[in-house]
Amino acid sequence: MENKNRGRPELLGADATLLQPIVATRSSFFHLALVLLGFTSFAFFAWLHQLRWGLGTTGLNVPVYWGSYITNFVFFIGISHAGTLISAILRLCHAEWRRSITRAAEVITVLVLFFGVGSIIVDLGRPDRMLNVLKHPNFRSPLLWDVCSVSTYLLASSIYLYLPLIPDIALLRDYAGKYTGFYRLLALGWQGTPRQWRVLNRAISVMAVLVIPIAISVHTVVSWVFGMTVQPMWHSTIFGPYFVVGAIFSGIASLIIAMALIRRIYFLQDYLKEIHFRHLGTLLLVFALLWFYFTFAEHLTTYYGHDPAHLAVFYSKLAGRYAPLFWGMVLTCLVIPVGILARRRTRPIRSAVVASVSVLVGMWLERFTIVIPTLAAPRVPWARVSYSPTWVELGITLGFSATFIFLYMVFTKFFPIVSIWEVQEGREAALTEVAERVKSYLPGPDVAGGAEVADGSVPELSRREGVG
């Protein structure tokens, strides 16, 4: 079925900009890709080195058996909450400003999850026996829960990324003029028929509802990896929500950064506006405070309980060897973001980005100061051994980050990073719909009944029929 519009994205009108990254690639892309792939190959080399000589090439030791790999694992899984969770929540809440940011967020989720899982594999002493997890599973192990929940999450969020992509892929099939076969395959024969829209919307909303508990469970389970042991300052009931909050916190921060970069590089100022950053900045501020609340509650409880084993960890964090990292975390997760975001912002984008970078650094430190001090202060008196990552760990960490960025870039070269149909939809239909909705909040007779407030798909469906 030939399409006469192929290769003419400008036919999309104003939204043609969104296809621009796919249609044209600048040389700087390749330069950057090369640099990033350099990091990737270095990480690969580091991993081979580690495989050859053993985990002794890392800075790990007795009793600090876990280090930056596990920190990365928790961190990456945390960031993965950027997308799915945020976009799902915003979708369910009908937050209209979501339309241009959901895609960017969801991609983060899917891609970063691979690195979360990768971190675990890299951390294994015998990755060659990885499949033992399937052959001899022990369902009592929180690590196995993790395996289950992360893979479920990966599946769910991939679907959740893919579903809203379908109309856009169809657009690409029809207009991009590149990789048509590839797009055709992925478009699954999307024609934009009302039935297809109905099914798609249904599916998206089901996934949006599904993905939230899955996402929350993932990070809760990650926290349980620590919380289920009896180790001081790991064995804490608050860890589930604490980790979830931290995850969303870092997720928002990474989303802000990703958006700012996309906006800058692909000239999407029209789509990713200051208001988006303002809203996300507010969200980040809220989570900074929420995060602080949890941190405070956690540490105050520990201090007040005065269990010597816990206190040893507590003091090593607050006043001991890990104090610089701990207070660095407080600075970067609380002081800087709150300081920046709480002020009236003249340049919301820049301040949001600065705050986000700070939060990302801080959240990595937070993961680090959760994992290491506990291990370094076991109940049994032990030699004071300090942990610091070696080049292998740093290389793999950097390589993972670089590869993630690379893959993200590559994604933008194949798929629109801003959801075209959602933006179109917002432009064309949302205004009236919102007006009606707002009216429904106000005193007076219901315009279209209360039902649509609960289930937004109904009016959308009716609206979209005209578009197709």
């Binding site: 499949l131 590839f182 395959l185 030699a383 004071r384």
Partner: protein, 812 residues
């Protein structure tokens, strides 16, 4: 768009699927390759027939019995010989580590000749024929030139019968210089000599004592016979309620021994004598002494008049006038109440025993301190009673020659043309002090030494004046070492003839220090030599054969085994003792023996030999208490508070008396007393006390990984010297735990890691002994040798070398 996929789409789907399958296939393949790669690295241990054989440990003087498991030709595990009376199946970590000595990768693999200079040695591997030829030629030439006496044999290996062999060799060869480096209880041995007149056999029956006052004796960390001490310790704590032995450890630092004791009394360093005399003060003033013992078996307790009518101060007057409680409390910084309580407990729990003295392990201590401590035993009558201080009877000599090394030589009893290079007659104590060798070598008096043979000793490393020893070795034309590893001394040799390690040779050992019973263990080799090494004893036997004549006649043995057999025949001839047996049999034997019955399990020398091979050795399990004439061999035939030997010696050596700040004729010189404590010199505020830790007991064993790993558990330290310091002191200095820090004494400096330890006394720092080798194993050449920092005094007022309090400064 049709609901059915077209051909292209179909191909795409199939292709995607294929790609997926291929990817996972490759992944699985990769995983299995990886698995195979790692599996190929796995170490597979060959199996073989299992066997057990006996041996003897010689890593410390205790000579515990070993039971070694062999698989095929490999020795794979060392355990204790359950029949051996010293260890009864237990072992300390050192004994277990014997395997790593045997299979140490840095052992010398063949004889080495120095083809470079002494300063810059270059080692060339030579054949045994060549090596033997060189040794024999040198020794023969010296003998032909009538210089046989100028050959010096320095031995540091523990054992007994081997020493007899060496002595026989040098007696026949014509050298009086068969020296031994000693076993680390020099101060106690000196006190025994000065107060009881016995030259050998410091023995304590720790197991049956009910109250043990240990003055800086690291009972659980290498003092005497560690394993039998530990057994005694275990039996104290096993006792039924109310009968537990109280173990009081008195020392400045809380050592592991102090930590395991029932009480630790922190004492100002070097004031052991004062504390002992303070306790004596309480015993005397409160009438807690054993007056009958004092009256019948002691001399110099009360004031006395000599033949010329001159009156002398007795122990009692000295203590009452100069060691009043408050004085002692001030000197020792031990609370007055503690001293009082210790004295009352000591007197109230008999048999009570006091051991030790101010002694830095591996370096000689202060004789007066040891005398003061030993005097406490006399005050409560703990000599020659069960659970008291004993004198070990000598081993039966059989028909084979005099008692070996380090015993008193009868004046004029030598058959040598020349006197010994270290003139025992000049010194207070009747055994030669190897630390005087450098002086002798350098001064070439009484005669120049032409050759030095060093076996099992590393004086350059282990003597306080090691550097001097190294310098002095330059003056010796021919130096031979029998070291198994290239050690600090061997590095100065011309020829190294590597000795077998324990498990490769016929092993033997006599009673360990502080053990009260005569004992001789003998065991055959467990495994074939790993390298081209030879037993030093067999080397000498070969030399004797090669030299022929009277040498060959004196040593008509072709192997070490033959020699040992001949010695066992001597033991059999004495018609006493038993081969090792279970403790039950031993109890039976002891009971019968006490009643006067002796029922040995052997009836001929051959049978005894076979039993020894089967069980590990022979011993005499019964001690005859109260053989006063054996235990008290002083001129007065009594225990001498006032040592007449000291009196006699100080008269003839006024220069040492004056050096000690005394007037000649001062009675205090002959009585135990507290030496003056030196003040720290300007700029050196900290006192350095080297400490001995069990894994590196005697300052040896640093090359053994097993031992290095467990060297300092109390500060989580291993593989490296550490400097122990009190946290308060460190705070004042502004230094932190784990920092690398310089320790500098007027003699030298070294760098160690700082470890804060609450058990270290403020103002005192400690370095472990055994570190800081400069030669040898890759694992041993680490850390600082504290002996390179401490000052020593070859002749104290008591005429005995002792380590002086050494002050250091510490900086980053």
């Amino acid at each position: 768009m049709s609901p059915k996929p077209n051909r292209r789409e179909f191909l795409g789907i199939v292709g995607g699927g294929a790609l997926g399958v291929a990817t996972s296939g490759v992944t699985l393949k990769g995983l299995s390759t990886l698995n195979a790669a790692i599996a190929s690295e796995e170490v597979h241990v060959p199996r073989g027939p299992e066997a057990w054989s006996l041996s003897v440990c010689s890593l410390c003087p205790a000579g515990c019995g070993l039971r070694v498991r062999t698989i095929g030709k490999r020795a794979v595990k060392i355990q204790g010989n359950p029949l051996h009376p010293v260890n009864r199946g237990g072992l300390c970590p050192r004994g277990l580590a014997g395997l790593q000595v045997l299979y140490h990768p840095d052992r010398l693999r063949a004889p080495q000749q120095n083809v470079g200079s002494r300063e810059a040695p270059r080692w060339k591997e030579i054949s045994w024929e060549e090596a033997m030829e060189t040794l024999t030629r040198h020794l023969r030439e010296l003998r032909e030139r009538n210089q046989a006496h100028s050959v010096v044999w320095v031995d540091g290996r523990y054992g007994h019968l081997r020493h007899r062999l060496f002595r026989k060799f040098f007696d026949a060869y014509g050298s009086p210089n068969c020296l031994h480096t000693g076993t680390g209880l020099e101060a106690a041995r000196a006190a025994l000599y000065l107060q009881q007149g016995a030259t050998e056999g410091v023995a304590y029956e720790l197991e049956h004592t009910r109250y043990l006052l240990s003055f800086s004796a690291n009972v659980l960390e290498g003092w005497g016979s560690p394993v039998s001490n530990m057994r005694a310790f275990g039996s104290w704590r096993d006792a039924e309620a109310g009968r537990r032995t109280k173990f009081v450890q008195i020392e400045p630092r809380m050592s592991l021994t102090a930590a395991r004791a029932d009480e630790w009394v922190a004492l100002r360093p070097g004031t052991e004598a004062a504390l002992a005399l303070g306790i004596a003060y309480v015993l005397i003033t409160e009438g807690l002494c054993d007056t009958r013992f004092l009256a019948e078996h002691t001399f110099g307790f009360e004031d006395w008049r000599d033949a010329s009518g001159r009156s002398h101060m007795g122990f009692r007057s000295l203590v009452l006038s100069e060691y009043r409680l408050n004085q002692v409390a001030a000197i020792t910084q031990v609370p007055l109440e503690t001293i009082l309580r210790l004295a009352r407990e000591f007197a109230g729990n008999r048999p009570a025993l006091a051991i030790g003295g101010p002694q830095c392990p591996t370096t000689p201590g202060d004789v007066y301190g040891a005398m003061a401590v030993h005097s406490l035993n006399a005050l409560v009558g703990s000599l020659e009673v069960p659970g008291g201080a004993l004198v070990r009877p000598d081993l039966p000599q059989g028909s084979h020659g005099p008692h070996p090394a380090n015993t008193e030589r009868e004046p004029g009893g030598t058959n040598h043309a020349r006197e010994s290079v270290i003139r025992v007659e000049e010194s207070l104590l009747p055994w030669p002090d190897v630390s005087r060798l450098p002086q002798v070598l350098l001064s070439r008096k009484p005669y120049p030494v032409q050759a030095m043979l060093i076996h099992g000793a590393d004086p350059v490393f282990s003597l306080p004046n090691g550097e001097e020893f190294a310098r002095a070795l330059e003056a010796v034309p021919f130096v031979v070492s029998f070291a198994s590893f290239l050690d600090d001394t061997a590095a100065h040799a011309d020829l190294i003839l590597p000795d077998h390690t324990d498990l490769e040779k016929w092993q033997e050992s006599a009673s360990p220090p502080t053990f009260a019973f005569p004992l001789q263990s003998i065991s055959p080799p467990v495994v074939a030599p790993v390298h081209q090494t030879r037993d030093a004893a067999e080397v000498l036997l070969r030399v004797a054969r090669a030299m022929g004549g009277e040498m060959a006649e004196a040593l008509p043995y072709s192997t070490a085994e033959e020699f040992l057999r001949s010695q066992v025949a001597g033991i059999f001839a004495a018609q006493t003792g038993y081969s090792f047996s279970t403790s039950l049999e031993e109890t039976w034997n002891r009971m019968s023996e006490r009643a006067g019955w002796w029922a040995p399990t052997f009836s001929s020398a051959q049978e005894l030999w076979e039993e020894i091979r089967l069980r590990g050795g022979w011993w005499e399990p019964t001690y005859s208490y109260g053989e006063w004439n054996r235990a008290l061999r002083t001129r007065s035939g009594r225990f001498e508070f006032y040592s007449q030997r000291l009196a006699e010696w100080t008269v003839s050596h006024p220069e040492f008396v004056r050096a000690g700040g005394f007037e000649p004729g001062d009675d205090r010189l002959c009585l135990p007393h507290q030496l003056r404590l030196p003040e720290p010199p300007e700029g050196f505020p900290f006192l350095l006390l080297p400490v001995e830790v069990l894994p590196l007991a005697g300052g040896t064993g640093a090359e053994i990984p097993y031992l290095q790993q467990i060297a300092g558990p109390h500060v989580f330290e291993h593989w490296e010297s550490w400097l122990e310091m009190n946290p308060e002191t460190a705070k004042k200095l502004g230094v932190e735990d784990g920092e690398w820090i310089w320790v500098e004494s007027p003699r030298g400096r070294g760098r160690a890691r700082l470890r804060l330890f609450e058990g270290a006394r403020p103002g005192v720092v400690h370095l472990p002994l055994g570190y800081g080798r400069t030669q040898g194993s890759r694992w041993a050449c680490r850390g600082v040798n504290p002996l390179r920092l401490v000052a020593s005094e070859p002749y104290s007022p008591a005429g005995v070398a002792r380590a002086l309090p050494t002050f250091v400064r510490v900086y980053v």
